[in-house]
């Protein structure tokens, strides 16, 4: 017997989780890089 599950709900859940994780990863890595390089440049100037 095959369950009649709403397939689009599973598709949307996968896309939302996947996209959110990727966007968060890109933003976090970019901001961490900018922060670390700014701190290095500040220390060099002092």
């Amino acid at each position: 017997m095959r369950e009649n599950l709403p397939q689009w709900d599973f598709v949307i859940a996968s896309y939302v989780i996947g996209i959110a994780a990727i966007v968060a990863l890109v933003i976090w890595s970019w901001q961490a890089m900018r922060r670390a390089e700014k701190r290095r440049d500040d220390v060099r100037r002092k």
Binding site: E3, L5, Q7, W8, F10, V11, A13, S14, Y15, I17, G18, I19, A21, I22, L25, V26, S29, W30, A32, M33, R35, A36, E37, R39, R40, V43, R44
Partner: protein
């Protein structure tokens, strides 16, 4: 290759390559996901859930690719003492962990309507979960070594030993009975229809560009932290 062991040369390359990889990766990934979500027809057996393929498969490949990058960089670091190779290994760990987690979560979501269950303890799923734990272990170990000033050889050896799990993941669906389907794409061969294969290829390229961009950004961050600490230490020593 040793030319890029020079941090100045690496930074000159990474300063323009990082945004280029990230922007082109985001663009291609967006195109592939919109394509997969709205323009690909439903599959005869899996119905609409086949669209999860365009997130799940690239994430799985990059989860394994991340650890392969860690293992190769660790080997280069241990054998040739390439100073940036150790950084590259550390930089690949977090994106590798995130893509492995995406693979596991989207696979579980896909399993419920397709197999009737969220999870089974079979070879493929279990070895992928082991990979996730290996990433956590590697990140904890490399952070502890960086903080406590231990030998960088320890996480590098861990990275090499952990690579044994990669062929196990790859061959698990062949070696053991599994609900997971056998490999659909092998060297020069594919059982996937072109209608699915082309957007999948675009998605894999987009995800890979993003992975490369994130690894470069992480390398730049780690390098900047090391340079800051070295400068502060020199100042403290000079002032003492």
């Amino acid at each position: 290759m040793h030319g890029f062991a020079n941090p100045k040369r690496f930074l000159a390359l990474a300063s323009w390559l990082t945004p280029l990889l990230l922007v082109s990766g985001l663009l291609l990934t967006a195109i592939a996901l919109v394509w997969g979500l709205f323009y690909v027809p439903p599959d005869r057996l899996m119905g609409e859930t086949v669209r999860i393929l365009f997130i799940h498969v690239p994430a799985a490949w990059l989860g394994m690719g991340g650890w392969t990058a860690i293992a190769i960089s660790s080997l280069v670091f241990l054998v040739w003492k390439h100073p940036l190779a150790g950084l590259a290994a550390r930089a690949a760990a977090v994106p590798g962990l995130v893509f492995t987690a995406i693979c596991l979560v989207t696979g579980s979501i896909w399993g419920r309507p397709t197999w009737g269950t969220w999870w089974v303890w079979d070879g493929r799923l279990t070895s992928m979960l082991v990979l996730l734990f290996l990433y956590f272990g590697y990140i904890a170990l490399s952070q502890a070594v960086a903080r406590e000033g231990g030998s960088s050889r320890i996480p590098a050896i861990f990275g090499l030993v952990g690579a044994i799990n990669i062929p196990i993941i790859n061959r698990s669906v062949v070696w053991w009975n599994s609900l997971h389907q056998p490999p659909s794409i092998t060297m020069g061969n594919s059982s996937i229809d072109t209608e699915f294969l082309v957007p999948l290829a675009v998605s894999v390229i987009g995800f890979s560009l993003l992975f490369g961009g994130v690894v470069l950004a992480r390398m730049r961050a780690l390098l900047a932290e090391i340079q800051t600490e070295a400068r502060l230490r020199r100042k403290a020593d000079g002032g003492a």
